[in-house]
Assembly symmetry: D2
Homo-oligomer: 384 residues x 4
């Protein structure tokens, strides 16, 4: 093939590393890309673990020092999938080295970090992307299309929740995601960030917010050894939980819409309940990540006799992304949201056009996160 080869270096090999690896491996199989994506190098500090990850996930090389990956002139794209406390340093170094930078969300652990990262990629003029992968579920992309086509008219409301329960047990140990110095925040940056992105993407920019971050369980057993998938061994010693267990806020969008947003890891029974509902004068939409191939649409132009919420299976060949996979109603999974994101990213990159979502989105997202955190302290509305 005469396609240009793009060499990727992935920093991080845990949950996101596995998901991103799968997407790099699959993207060229389902999409006719303008480039050949090559899984060049995966990087992690634990050599045995990263070697195994390289073999399992299909990376040609592995490395234990991210600086060497960035220094490697063969590599075109640096994918930053480490815990949040390393994002800024790696991403900025990668940008300065002239690499495209694809980064997990939230891009920084603070608004300042995010700003410096955005400045870095803009100064360097390199392509940049952020993994707000849920935009790329076919049902969400269809929601976006229906909104852009005017099918929802004037938007009045968005209500979004991202509910999980994996730390509801007070004996769940103090893993890195519960430590502010590593993770930046708890539910807020981890999952509120996702629904804030969906709000910006589908409704528009935020105007002001009021909210609160809350920690139900303030001390937990220290984690023994962190495994590859969020799990951990418990220990007898206790440590302080320094991030939020739940974060909720009200919002007003610049276009006049109202919003409610709530993230929790204490919603017992809810596993990955990233659900939103948007109501407009022309109709309404409902999405739930746990049934990510489906979109509910109330079309207000349908006569009363037969109106109602329609369960669209966003799996038709004509739906966004879906035609690249299987026949209608043969569903795709979580992994494909990353594949779709990369398909878009490499296509834009090859064309020299803006990748969406990018560090601008990452930064704007973080401005909302930051405003909610400040509101939680001032106990009042904060203007963005």
């Amino acid at each position: 093939m005469s396609k240009k080869q793009i060499n990727v270096g992935l920093i991080g090999y845990q949950f996101m590393g596995k998901a991103h690896s799968n997407a790099y491996r699959q993207v060229g199989r389902f999409f006719d890309l303008p480039v050949d994506v090559h899984m060049h190098t995966i990087c992690g500090r634990n050599e045995a673990a990263v070697k195994k990850a390289a073999e399992s996930y299909g990376w040609t090389n592995y490395e234990t020092d991210w600086r060497k990956v960035i220094a490697n002139p063969e590599i075109d794209v640096i994918d930053v999938s480490t815990p949040g406390n390393l994002h800024a340093e790696i991403a900025i170094a990668a940008a300065k080295a002239g690499k495209a930078v694809f980064c997990e969300k939230p891009i920084g652990n603070t608004l300042e970090e995010a700003k410096s990262m955005l400045d870095a990629v803009q100064a360097a003029g390199v392509p940049h992307a952020v993994f707000h992968n849920y935009r790329k579920a076919p049902a969400v992309a269809l929601a976006k299309k229906l909104i852009m086509d005017g099918r929802l008219g004037t938007i009045y409301h968005m209500r979004a929740t991202y509910l999980q329960d994996w730390i509801a047990d007070p004996n769940f140990p103090l893993v890195w995601r519960l430590q502010k110095e590593v993770a930046g925040s708890g539910t807020h940056g981890d999952i509120n960030a996702h629904i804030i992105d969906l709000g910006r993407h589908l409704v528009g920019e935020f105007d002001e917010v009021v909210g609160t971050l809350h920690t139900f369980i303030k001390k937990r057993p220290l984690a023994g050894e962190i495994d590859a998938n969020l799990g951990a061994k418990a220990s007898e010693k206790m440590g302080d939980v320094t991030v939020d267990d739940a974060a909720m806020f009200l919002a007003k969008f610049k276009n006049g819409a109202l919003g409610t947003f709530e993230a929790s890891r204490f919603a017992v029974g809810r596993k990955n309940y990233n659900r939103f509902e948007i109501n407009g004068s022309g109709g309404s939409l409902v999405f739930n990540l746990e049934r990510m191939n489906e979109l509910e649409f109330f079309d207000n132009s349908v006569p009363e006799e037969t109106h109602g919420f329609t369960l669209i299976q966003a799996t038709e060949g004509s739906h966004p992304y879906a035609g690249h996979y299987w026949p209608v109603a043969h569903i795709i999974g979580y992994g494909e949201t990353f594949t779709n994101l990369l398909a878009d990213a490499f296509t834009n990159m090859a064309a020299g056009t803006r990748i969406e979502p990018d560090f601008v989105d990452g930064y704007e997202n973080q401005r909302v996160l930051d405003a909610v955190e400040r509101s939680s302290e001032t106990r009042s509305w904060i203007k963005l």
Copy 2:
């Protein structure tokens, strides 16, 4: 008021007696009827029980001999809500006495009884109705309207189940509904009769059937004393179950549609799962009695991008019957299906027009029941 008063005599006071009483009491409160319905007399063999029922349900008089009710010249309508083995005798006597006859389904315990009952009401020229009340759920009436409006086009399929589990416990006693000489049949006449009626009502007449009736538990404890709501005391002695626990059949309709029908009292977890789906060239419909205010409609004329099953809340003021009750999505219940049936029946009766469903429907229904029973014996398709 100058409206004509219609005096009703109700024979039977158990489950159906309670449901019918409620409907007679309520019908004039929600519908502006051309007549005044008066709850004249309720009749049952156990004087203490029927006296209590009269007081509880609001009947002016009670009686222990149904012949006296029929002989009473004040009474205009005889409602036959006894177990099936008494239907024919009472209904025929009532018809001969010139009374309107409203009868529970199936009208007879055999096809011969049903025929003699139909002959009797036709010979007497009296109004007649059969309580296939599910036709009168707003969602079912809406289904009928959509079909009559051509929204389903050519109908290809109906699949109907009526699933319950109240006798799945082998220790459930041998109540009258499990005895052929009283009940006529088991699930077949009790609940298959309902979905056969919906088939005739919504799709059309049956052409041929093949099916089987089956009894899983062939001996049960004798019932001690039957209470008002199907319950019973268990006994140590065992008796033979002489009716079917489940009955299923395939059908071809005269218009070319195919059907599957299944009734069971052994579908553990299913309580009142009277569900049908109808597929036509123009669209499809789904109904489930347990969510009887809802109808799902797939409109095949909607473009692929947003097509899907629409959950219609059949509670709009413009939907059949619904406008007589509450604002949209303030649901009605099972009791109201009888109220709606009576509203229609009294309106037709006053106008001298045919009540639907009537004994013709009861008889045609029984022809299908009978054909399935014969098919169960001959093990082959039976033409109707």
Copy 3:
């Protein structure tokens, strides 16, 4: 019968008048009450309309001056179902006259009114009730029982929405419910009041709130003539909408639980979507009024292999209220929530015990409504 007769006088004959009338008519038919409930007098200002209502709904007498109803020594209970601006005057007069007072919610148009009403019934020592009827849906009553039995453990979250769309059309006229001087507030008092009551009932007392009331459409055509069911004729002249179209707030409960509450009349496609979810350490509950016979329960004690949200049909004979009606999964409707409330109210009244919910609940509810309104002005959290 030797039961004591209780004579009821109902002030108001529109939507709530119809619903309450049905409940007074039905309560003695499904429940074995210690008293005989007599529908003595209905009262409204429009004589022709109230006369028709008396006939339709089954009241023995009608009256056009509520003072005469209160003055009538035969009457034991005054039911206040007028628009909110008349509640306080009528209820206080009724209490002073020694009548039991059953009042629609919110009891007053202001917190001051509510306080004066509570003071009046307490000073008079008369029984009092408020129509927070949704407590009395079997599924909600089951939710309460499960919580009281400790099945939810420590409660972490409640999220409640009450969404409708009946005024989303900007041409919908300026009916009384959109006028502050009559209705007191918009969605806030009308439907947020309901979910606040469910919050107090199921989770506990509120500790602090932050929220906002919002009006999307600020001018509407003047209403011509108001009909019995919220409808209205449009007019060419425009008037100011003086109530909220939507109201949302965050809450902290005294027991440490977090809450989100949202009411809207602009949630296009949502008709009567009174939905709540409660998450506790032991499990979670979900209820939606549009499927009011169902309760979803996640039982955290079930092993992971088969855990999940269980769809309970709250229609078993052993479930609260349900056994008084039909066999399992033969559902009841909206009307029955009032019947159940009255069954409890008359039972408590006869026993001389506290009715729940009563004016204390009405007042506490209004304290929360008031705090949210103040928060909407101060743009900060308000302590209760």
Copy 4:
């Protein structure tokens, strides 16, 4: 790595070819297999198309003559994914050449073909597998486990439907799947075969059946050119549809359970509605392929107060297959059902143990298909 390399030759490159290719590519990435799976050669008659498929799907070589693939001594496994009329010849030749044979379902176009194929693999002593991939959805595998653990007790009922609508349009052309000489049968072999397999897998062997195959649209436009995904260009000439559009049958299982089975391509609105419900004395199960990560379970041992159907998200780490992918409720898709099947197949093959499902399953499946076809002709029950 010291793992043995297994070289696969895939015959066929359309829909199933794409799905199988994905599974061969992915299986070693998510499962720690005892062998290294190498995608050696893909084969199809159209050189340009198969060359493109090889590149897209990741096969090292391509070939246009399947005999050459079988003759290649490097190749260990022959995967037969052609239209049904070529299955027997290829599979038998592969077996004779000592290759493992993995075949699409139904294995033959006739019972005789299936028997000769089974004989061939057994005579050759080679490993064999059939792609009844739906057994391998985590939710179905969980259903199997619950049944084997005795959670359903005595099974009374299975009702299964596999409903699609892709040829409901009478102008849909006469593609190969509508031609008996190529496809063998229509819905019957294509999709009834799947639910028959689920019946055998979950309930047990069939004892007798009665059913009918039906063709609604008997003439269709000739297909111009068949594309890779079931699509086709229409032509002006008409041809005879020689297969069934719908096939339905009743069944009795050897263990006494009753079954209803229905397949249709005329169920408008149903896209991939492979749904089953199984009722046993101990509980019930419901599965729908369109929500293939979910299983509904009614546990009859739960007290009445909180019993109901529980929506299990079969995505826990402890659920079959699920732990190999993502965290809980991060769903997998249709493609993964094949990946799971191959993971089992290669594991069994390496261990020298029976692969499930294999050609015995394929043959037994075909015995049921054949019995239903004969029943459709004799119009009576057929004993297996």
